[in-house]
Amino acid sequence: MKRFVCLSVLIAVAVFSAEIARTQDLTSLKEASRNIRSVKAEFLQKRSLPILTKPLFSEGKLFFYIPNSLRWEYLSPLRSVMLRKGNNIQIYNFSDGVWKPEMAQAVESRRMVLEEISHWFQGRFDESKAFKHLYSPGPSERVILVSGEGINRFINRIEIVLSVRPGVIHRVEIEEPGGSRTSIEFKNVEINSSFSSEVFEKP
C-alpha cells in the first residue's frame, strides 16, 4: 500500500512537472512568434490518398502579415489563391488566362481554414475554435492539434513541425479519417521581409 502511495505521488509529480514544462514551452513558442511580423514562403504539398498509387503534389506560395493578412496561393496543378485581409476573404481561380472569382458560398467556407493558418504563424494555437493543442518537445519540436466534435469528420489531427528557427514552421502534417494524409513542407521561408500589402488584396 505504501509503495502504491509513493508511486502515485511520483506519477502526480511527473504529470504536474510535464504540465508546467508544456505551458512554458508553448509560452516561449508564442513569445518567439511575437517577433514575427511577416512570413513569405514557398510550399510543397504532398497529398496521399488510398485511391492513388502515387501522391499528388501541389506547389504554392504564401504571404502572411500580422495579425490576419494571408495569401495562400497554389501554382500547380490548380492555380488558385485565397486572400484574407482582416475579415475580408476572396478566392480566385486562374482560368483561360484570367483570374475568376470563386462562388460566394465556397469563399465563406474557407474562412475557418484561413483563420487557423493565421493562428499557426503567430503561435496562437490556444485560440483555435476547432482544435485542442498539445506540445511535443524535440528533437523535432511540434505542436499537435487534435480535432474536436464536428471537424473530426474531416480531420483527425494536425501536426505542426517547428523549424530550429524560433517561431518558424517547417512542415504541417494533416491526418484524415480513412487513411488520407497531407504534408505541407515550407521552404525559402523569409521572416519579416517587406512586400506590398497588395498581395493580400489582388490575385
Binding site: 504539398q45 497529398r47 490518398l49 485511391i51 492513388l52 498509387t53 502515387k54 499528388l56 501541389s58 497554389y74 496543378p77 490548380l78 488558385s80 481561380n93 482560368s95 475568376k100 470563386e102 462562388m103 460566394a104 458560398q105 465556397a106 465563406e108 467556407s109 474557407r110 475557418m112 481554414v113 476547432a130 464536428g150 471537424i151 474531416f154 480531420i155 484524415e176 480513412g178 488520407s180 497531407t182
Partner: protein
Amino acid sequence: MILRRGLDICLLGFLILSAGCGPISKTTLRPGSPDDLPGCYAIFPAEPWVSVHRLEATIRGGSSSLLGVTKGEPSERRLQSLLLSPEGFILFDAELSGGGIAVRKAVDPFDSPAFARGLMEDVALLFLLPQVKPTTWGKETHGAMICNWEGPDDSHTEIMGSMDSGWRILRRDKYGKVIKKVVLNGPFVNGLASRVELWSFKPASYRLRMTLVQPSP
C-alpha cells in the same frame, strides 16, 4: 465545419437547373465491317487505371475549380470518383459498381443523391464502354469513326472522331434531343484523353472542363 457550409461549387445546382439545347443532327450509318468495330472502343480505357484531372465547372456564369480523382476497373464496370478542393480536402467520394452507387463521403453541397447520380453518370459516360455492341458503326471518307449505341431506356449514344482529330460523344434522350455532349482531345495518355469538355443540357445545364494532370496505369 470547414467544408460543411459548402466549399461550394454549387454543382448541386447542376441538377436543379434545366435548359434546352441546340439540335445536333443525327448521323445515319450503314453497318460497318467487323474490322472497324475496335475503333468504337478506342476512347475507353481497357485496363484498370487511376487518373487525376483538373476540373473547371461552369454554371450560371460562375465557375469553380476542383481536382477529380477517378479509379476505373473496366472489366468489372467499377468506377470510384473523388472530388477534391484545391487544398486537397475530399468533398465527394462515391463508387459505381453493378449499376448501383455507394456514396462514401459527401459534404454539402455535394451530399444529395441526385448529385451523386448525375456525377457518376457523367463519369461512366466518359470512361465506361457501353455494355452492348454498337447497333451501327462505320468510317467516314476522311477516316473518322462513327458508332451508335441504343440504350435500354431508348437513349442513344453516338461517338465520332479519330485519335488525330479528337472525339465527340453525344447522348440523346428518347426524343432524339442531345442531353450531353463531350469533346475529347489528345494526346491520349494510357488510354485517357488529355483534355475533355462536357456539356450537360438536361436535366441540368452545366459545363465541365477536365485536364489530365496525373495518369497512372
